[in-house]
Every structure is written in C-alpha cells, then in structure tokens.
Amino acid sequence: MALPQRRTDIGPPHFKDFIPPVIQKNYGDWAHHEILSGGVMVHVANSGDKIWTVRCASPRLLSTDTIREIADLAEKFCGGYLRFTTRNNVEFLVSDEKQVQPLLDALKAKKYFVGGMGDSVHGYHITNIVHTQGWIHCHSACTDASGLVKVIMDDLADYFNVKTTPGKVRLAVACCTNMCGAVHCSDIAIVAIHRKVPRIEHDSVKNLCEVPSTIACCPTGAISPDPAKKSIKINNDKCMYCGNCYSVCPALPISDPENDGVAIVAGGKVGSLRCDPKFSKLVVPYIPNNPPRWPEVTSAVRKILEAYISGARKHERVGEWIERIGWEKFFELTGFPFTFQHIDDFTIARETFRTSAAFKW
C-alpha cells in the first residue's frame, strides 16, 4: 500500500483537540483543587464545574498492548481523555463523578498502581521516579535505570498511597552523570558513576574521532594529543571519569563492570517554596551494581527517607530538614561514613567549606 504524503515542519498537534470539554470550557478559570485520596483529586472551576483526576504509576517503558489497555480504560470511563505527568504517571481525566469509583475498581482489578498524590491537608506521598534509559538502550549507561526505579518503588510502595511523608519527596535515577533527568535537584536521587579512566583504543581513534574536539571536551584538561600514535593521551591524575570524552569519541570506552556503580545524592529541590531551589549533595559516593534488585541501594534510600520522616517538620523537604539540623548531624543520624569523596575539589569547592566555628558535635 502506498504511503501517505509526508509533511514537514508542522509541529505537534494543537492541544485544544486533546483536552476534555470541561477543560476547554474552564481553561484558565480554575478556583481550587482538593486531594481526595492518594490517587484521586478534584479540580473545581469558578463556574462550579469539576474534573476528577485519577493517577497511577507507569514504568515509563510501555508496550503498545498496555497503551491500548490504557486507551480502552480512558474510553470506557472518561470519554477517552487522559494525560501523562512529567514523572511518568498516567492521569485519567474524569468529567462525570459517577465514573470515578468504577474506574478505580477497574484499575484495581487490573492491578494498576494508583497513588502518587499528596498535599498539606491530605498528607504527602512520594510519586513516581523520574529516570533515564539505562541498559534498555543507552551507550553511556553505567547502571540500569528502569531496574533501579522498579526496586526502589517496590520497596517504598506504601509511601505511594498509604503512608505519608512530612513534605514532598521527589526521587530520580540517572544512569550516568549526563543526568537526562533532574537528579541534580531531587530530594533523594541515584546517579551511576565510573571510577576508572577510559581505555584508549589507539587504532580506532584516527578512524572514529576528531582529536581536537576530543581534547576540548574534557572538563579537567586531562586529554592531550599523542602525535606519534595519531591518537590522544590521558593524564590519569586529572581524569574524574565523567565519560564526556566517550560520548565525543567512541574509541575511549569507559564502561567497567567491576568498578562502575551508583552514588546517592540528597537534598535538592526545584520549587521556590520557602527557600530557593537547591542542588542535591553527595551522601553515598559508591555502591556496586548488584542487579537485579540492588538491595544495598534500596536500603540506603530507605535509611535516608526514614531519618527524614522521623526528623523533619511538616512541609519541610529533605534538603530543608538537613540544612536545619546540619550535614554533620545528618551523617551522624544516618550512619553513612563521611569520606574524602564528600569534600568538593571541583569548580565550586571554596563555596562548600565551612567558614564558621559554629557547628554541631
């Protein structure tokens, strides 16, 4: 069969054709919303109209069979209207209150994982984890993001819709320091790291790589030309294993199963509520990759979360709690060892040293 005529530079379809009539009618005119349970909320417009949102987690990696199933559920209970959140949750947009419970029953019957909502009145829950491609199909991955998300969410499942936390907790997983996700500003996040310098495949460099751009891409200036070999040299003392050179030059493989693993960072946020957005900071510099269920990672994440739950004031995020009690107290409470890796020696090091004699024992 002949292919249809292609069109270029048309951009995405306009959203007006994808939003339910109640949103069309009340666009920009909403009054307030209320969280009704861990996975259901209602938005009320100034006109009095209402829309109910039912949220459930997805693993982000979806088969077409599952997407069709989601489409069928949306068709049956909410006129076919749904959306996804930036944290990979599915949101069914229900205009008829009578359909909310039948939809919840149908989701329960199919074992959908409903939850991920929270606020100050209802109580806060964790929501789905922002993450990257990992071993599913990325060349620079030094762990599997989907696997880590699965085991962390399994472990913290109760916090998705039953148990509450003092404030919002946003989790993220990045499978390398490229961080295709907001790991650098999350409450608790996993980032996979290398610990050894790239290997140089001298015979391939001249065919696969542009030497000047490979030299220029190194943030610490560790790469220099090796004219005799028509290749490059790496100063091992300067390399900090970021892997940027491997993305520029495929002849510099850095993947190393014995030394790759993950680090845990904490205390970041993106909202401006109460205090400015914050970067996540290093808590655990290295945990070996231990697939398929990474038990050392899930127990470390739980340890941070539980210390936060028992110590934080209502509404405080992980980073606000840690800054109030002090990082020295945080390491004492959680028992994570403090190492040389925790002291910054890169571009903003001097901003992180303690320039005061006031601290806690």
Binding site: R7, T8, G11, A57, P59, P292
Partner: protein, 394 residues
C-alpha cells in the same frame, strides 16, 4: 517462532507492587522479534553488569537533521534483530494530553514499523518510540506527519519545548503554559529540525514558582509564571483550614521566607510589598489565598545538568514580561540571545556556560537589557571590575 530467551535475572523484576518494565518488554516480545532480542540483550546486560549499546550514527529522515537517535548493538551476531535499534522522538502535545483514539493510532503505526516498545515520555517530554531500523524511518515519518504529528528535537538544536499543565487544570497558573509552549514550538520549527546551534537549547514553561516541570533546573530558558499585585485573603477559608487542624502560626506564618505574614487568631494579614511570591502559603491553603493583579512571567537563563563543569540553575534575566500572544517581544529577545551564542559559543557549550565564560555584561548589552538587582542574589564581593571608556565619561 522467535527464539526463547531464559531471563532469570529480569524475571526477578516482575515481582513487587510497582508495574514492571520487564512485563512490558515481554508483552512486546510476543509480537516482534525486535522486542524479543531486546529482552535477550537486556538479560545479558544484567548478567555482565554493562551496557551493550553503541553510539548512534547519523540516521534520520529527508530534510531533517534530528528527531531520530541512531542506536546499534555491540553484539549484533548474538542479537541480530536489535543490530539496529533506532529511537524516534515524536513531539508530544503540550501538557502531555492524549485522546484514546490517537494513542491507538500511534500503537498501530508502531506495531507495523517498530519494536512495539515506547517511553511515555522521554525526559525532555517527547513521545519516544524505541527501536526501529533505518529503512523504516521514512515510512514512520510519512505515517505520523500525514496525521498531524511531527518529530521532536535532538542534537545541537532546539529540543522539544515542554511545560506544566498550567491553565488547563491548575488554579495557580499565572500564564498559559501550554499556549506558550505550542507557540514556541511552531515559531522555531527550523531551529528544531535542522541543528545549527553550538549545542542543545531547551525551553520549559512553568505556571508558577512551584515549577512542576523543573524548568529552573533543566532548561536553557526557564519561563516561570508570576504576578505583580497582592495576595487576596479569604478569612473565612483561613478559619476553615484552622478548624480542619492546620496550625496557621507554625505551618504558614513561621514558614514564610520573608516574614511578611501575621495571624492574630482572627485575621491573616500579608505585607504584599515584602512578599517574594514563593508559593508556600498559597500552595498550602489554596482556597484561602490567591495571587491577584497583573500576571506574567520571569525569564531565567542557563540551567543544565552537570556536564561539563558542573550543574547550574537558571538565573533571572527578565524579572517580568507579560507573555501574551503573539509573544513578539519574547521571540525577538530569544533570537538576539541565539545570535550572540552562535557568534561566540564553542562546540558543545550551552548558552549559560557561555554567559559565565564571557560575563553577564556582554550578554545583557548584546540583548539590550539593563542591569537590575533582581538578577543577582548579591552584588559582587571582589574589587576587580571593568570600566569601559563610556563608563568613565558618565
């Protein structure tokens, strides 16, 4: 019959309460050889604790320089059906809204030409179709574009703009995030599809300072809704929150970062002139408090992940702009920025890194903005600053 792979490690990831991505791959593996080999190679990755994917080559559709990510297996003999396993990025609808019928069409096309595996969504917000071969790219593009869909961005280009749900379903939205995102995407189609920048450029639009799209952490240009005016207080609703158990003093008054709220048990008062519009009080008692007055956005520039010299958060360059159609002033400002970046940016240098390298003064003068205290947390501490000849005669 497709080859059956033993997957003892991945099978462990089908246990537990959270939905399993392994189950998803297995569902697709029943239908396509490609998904079946993906399952096999992933088990190998788990067994060997390393990735088996190689760099992308240059693949794409005619007339475009992006939107498709080339991906190849490093063990093609063992898993021939994923020897080529390219990703197609489809520009999603603003706010990630869908209708069931459109989702089914996407599935029909993808079952016909690809692995049947997807990401809803990639980190930037594209609908991501995982796994196809070079010969299928033109047919996929024809099928999608003839139905009104286009490819997203990749490489050194404008990436697919994204936003929070905004005015569609949120009372806190100060700007029409979805309308703005659609307008930006349409205005800069060429910049998206034909990579000509020093490196990637991302727009993210948030309706308020809650920033549910994380624009301040991961967009070269963050557009964050705000207002100029007072916070209207409904004292009856304040009382209602109190009677439902909220400790107004501890949860609202004491947590206000500018100490501009007071409560005497009868009335909640806000010193609006000293409010920084952080959204804490409004987000905790939404029925009682509302921002009023002129609505618009703050424009911030420069955030990115750690590569290469450390992560940055976006910083303020325009404290307030109206952000109403046709957005002419905003587009002019963006074109000026890109012109300067294009002139001075090094290969793989983001615009924020360039501003840090060459200084805010040069950047602001080029795009025609005056210095303002809202742009900085504090003035400089060092005594080493520049004077131009013109400064000396002022």
């Amino acid at each position: 019959m497709p080859k059956k792979y033993d997957t003892p490690l991945l099978d462990e990831l089908e246990k537990g309460a959270f939905p399993s991505f392994v189950t998803e791959i297995k569902k697709a593996a029943k239908k396509t050889e490609m998904a079946n080999d993906e399952l096999g190679v992933l088990e190998k990755c788990y067994r060997e604790r390393k990735t088996h994917w190689k760099h992308g080559g240059i693949v794409g559709v005619r007339g475009y320089g992006g939107g498709v990510i080339g991906r190849y297996s490093d063990v093609p003999e063992e898993f021939p059906n994923v020897a080529h396993f390219h990703t197609v990025r489809i520009n999603s609808v603003s706010g990630l809204f869908y209708k069931a019928s459109d989702l089914r069409t996407v599935c029909d096309i993808w079952d016909k030409y690809g692995s049947g595996l997807t990401n809803f969504h990639g980190s930037t917000g594209d609908m991501v179709l995982l796994g196809t071969t070079t010969d299928k790219l033109e047919p996929i593009f024809a099928e999608f574009s003839s139905r009104g869909w286009d490819l997203g961005g990749s490489g050194s280009a404008l990436r697919t703009p994204s936003c929070c749900v905004g005015a569609a379903r949120c009372e806190w939205a100060n700007i029409d995030t979805m309308g703005i995102t659609y307008a930006i995407t349409q205005e800069f189609q060429d910049e998206m599809h034909r990579p000509a920048f020093p490196y990637k450029f991302k727009f993210k639009t948030a309706g308020c300072a809650c920033d549910c799209i994380a624009s301040i952490a991961r967009a070269d240009c963050s557009i964050i809704g705000t207002w100029k005016g007072s916070i209207a207080v409904d004292q009856k609703e304040v009382k209602a929150y109190e009677s439902k158990g909220m400790n107004i003093q501890a949860e609202i008054v004491d947590m206000c970062p500018t100490s501009c709220i007071s409560y005497d048990g009868k009335a909640l008062k806000i010193d609006d002139a000293n409010c920084s519009r952080c959204m804490h009080c409004i987000s905790k008692m939404g029925k009682a408090l509302k921002g009023t007055g002129e609505k618009g956005a703050t424009i911030l520039i420069g955030s990115k992940a750690p590569f290469v010299v450390g992560a940055t958060l976006s910083w303020v360059i325009v404290p307030f702009i109206k952000m109403e159609p046709p957005y002419t002033d905003f587009f002019d400002l963006i074109r000026k920025m890109w012109e300067w970046w294009d002139e001075h940016g090094k290969n793989r240098e983001r615009i924020g890194e360039l501003i840090i390298r060459r200084g805010m003064r040069e950047f602001l003068e080029y795009i025609g903005l005056d210095p303002l205290p809202q742009m900085v947390k504090e003035p400089r501490r060092d005594p080493f600053w520049f004077w131009t000849d013109e400064d000396l005669t002022k």
